[in-house]
Structures are given as structure tokens and as C-alpha cells.
């Protein structure tokens, strides 16, 4: 077992365990904090896949932006009391349906990933990706880049409008 495998299994274990804690934990604050570990684990896997810039962006956008927003949301709305999971017969029915759908999703994804004839290129040697990404964003994908910028502006104006207190 060489270094690459050890690092891969380490990050994979972090991602899976903390994702399970996010989904199954009773305390919503524990969920928010283990989401942090999931994001860091996925960033580590990105770096392991030679995508260093994407990994850094993952940490900056998800951990620095989205997670802080989510923790603010948790702290503002945390006064609610009650059971987070439905009880009674409709809760049981919902669990059964969720189990079936989840199982089907898992089987479908596994079959697709195992049986697919995925094309792998020949040039997988290590090189820095920032230069290529910058060139592609400014030439081939410039229209999508500008559209994403406008979409972000509209979304943030809309979020401020929805979230503000009525005067």
C-alpha cells in the first residue's frame, strides 16, 4: 500500500463518515460542523486528482461562504423545538419510500459506474491547471462565464430582497 492509496482511503473515510453524520445526526449544529469536514475531504480528493485550483476554490467558496451562511441560518432558526423526523404511519411510509428510492439510486449509479466504458486519455502527467483554466474561461467559455456572473448578481439581489425585514 503506497502513499497515494493511504491518502485516498484517509480522505474517503473522512468524507463518508462526516457525510453520514450530516444526514443522520439529531443535533443540527453537529450536522453543520461535520459538513465542514466533508468539504475539506472533497477538497483533498480534488488535490489528489491534480486539480489544485479547484480544491482551493472548494475551500474558499464552500467553507468560507456557503458553510458560514448555513451556520448563520442554523443559529437564527434554532429556537424551533420538535422531532425532526416524521412519526406515525405516514412517517413509516415516508421511510419506506425513501429507502426504496435510495436503494434504486445506489444500484443505478453503481451499475453505471462499474459497467460504463469510460474513455481515459493518454496524457495524465502532472501539470499545473491554473493556466489552462484561465485560458479556457477567457476564450471558449466566456459567454457562460458572463452569464454566471449576471446570475449571481440577480440571485444576491433577490436574496437580499426576500430576506430583509419589512419596514
Amino acid at each position: 500500500m503506497d502513499l497515494f492509496e493511504i491518502i485516498f482511503y484517509f480522505f474517503a473515510a473522512i468524507v463518508l463518515v462526516s457525510a453520514l453524520v450530516v444526514v443522520l445526526s439529531k443535533n443540527i449544529m453537529y450536522s453543520a460542523f461535520s459538513l465542514l469536514f466533508t468539504f475539506f475531504g472533497v477538497a483533498g480528493l480534488f488535490v489528489l486528482l491534480n486539480a489544485d485550483f479547484v480544491g482551493i476554490t472548494q475551500i474558499m467558496v464552500y467553507v468560507g461562504g456557503i458553510l458560514v451562511l448555513i451556520i448563520f441560518g442554523v443559529m437564527i432558526t434554532t429556537k424551533v423545538t420538535g422531532v425532526d423526523i416524521k412519526e406515525g404511519i405516514s412517517g413509516k411510509l415516508q421511510y419506506a419510500g425513501a429507502g426504496i428510492i435510495t436503494l434504486l439510486t445506489a444500484i443505478f449509479l453503481s451499475l453505471m459506474f462499474i459497467n460504463g466504458k469510460w474513455i481515459t486519455g493518454s496524457s495524465t502527467d502532472v501539470h499545473a491547471t491554473i493556466h489552462q483554466i484561465g485560458t479556457l474561461l477567457m476564450t471558449k467559455y466566456i459567454l457562460a462565464f458572463e452569464a454566471a456572473a449576471i446570475l449571481l448578481l440577480i440571485a444576491f439581489i433577490g436574496a437580499a430582497l426576500i430576506g430583509r425585514r419589512k419596514a
Binding site: 485516498f8 443540527i28 486528482l49 467558496v61 448555513i70 425532526d84 469510460w118 486519455g121 483554466i133 436574496a159
Partner: protein, 102 residues
Amino acid sequence: MNEIPQGYYLLLAGVLFTIGTIGVLTRRNAIIIFMSIELMLNSVNLTLVAFSSFFGDSSGQIFVFFVMAIAAAEAAVGLAIVLALFRLKKTIYVDEANILKY
């Protein structure tokens, strides 16, 4: 260099997506549903980066940036909606926001 087979990354992403599906389908708290959606988006990003890295083409990583931009917009708008719902009905459980149902 990288001796981990591509299938391992894809299988990990599939399991992560499935965990996110469980969260979206079973929880009632809107914020936990958000977190599960972020998990699913992250697993898709992992798939895209894995394909991009093994194919030797950076275009897949461009796609990841757009997914991240959409995720940021979705988190901002979604949390604003959750705040408005909490201010209006004092709850963030999605099955209690049923005023349009009857």
C-alpha cells in the same frame, strides 16, 4: 503517479450522492435538506473532476466552477426563503409549510 483506479473515485461519488439522497428524503428540517443538496452537488463535482483528470482535459474543471457558482446562488436564495418562512410561520419544517394545500 496516480495509481488509484478511476472507478474508486466514481464509486465514492456515487455513495456520497446516495447519502445526500437519504438526507433530502427523510429529514424535515429545511436547513438539513440544504446541507444534503450541497453533499449531492459535491459528489457530482467529484465525478467531474475525476473524469477531467483521467481524460487529461481541463474543460471538466471549468464545469465545476459553474456548479459552484450555482450552489452559492442557491444557498443564498434558499436561506433567504428559510428566513422569510421562519419569520412568517415560526417553523422551518418543510411539511408544515402547507398553506397552499387546502
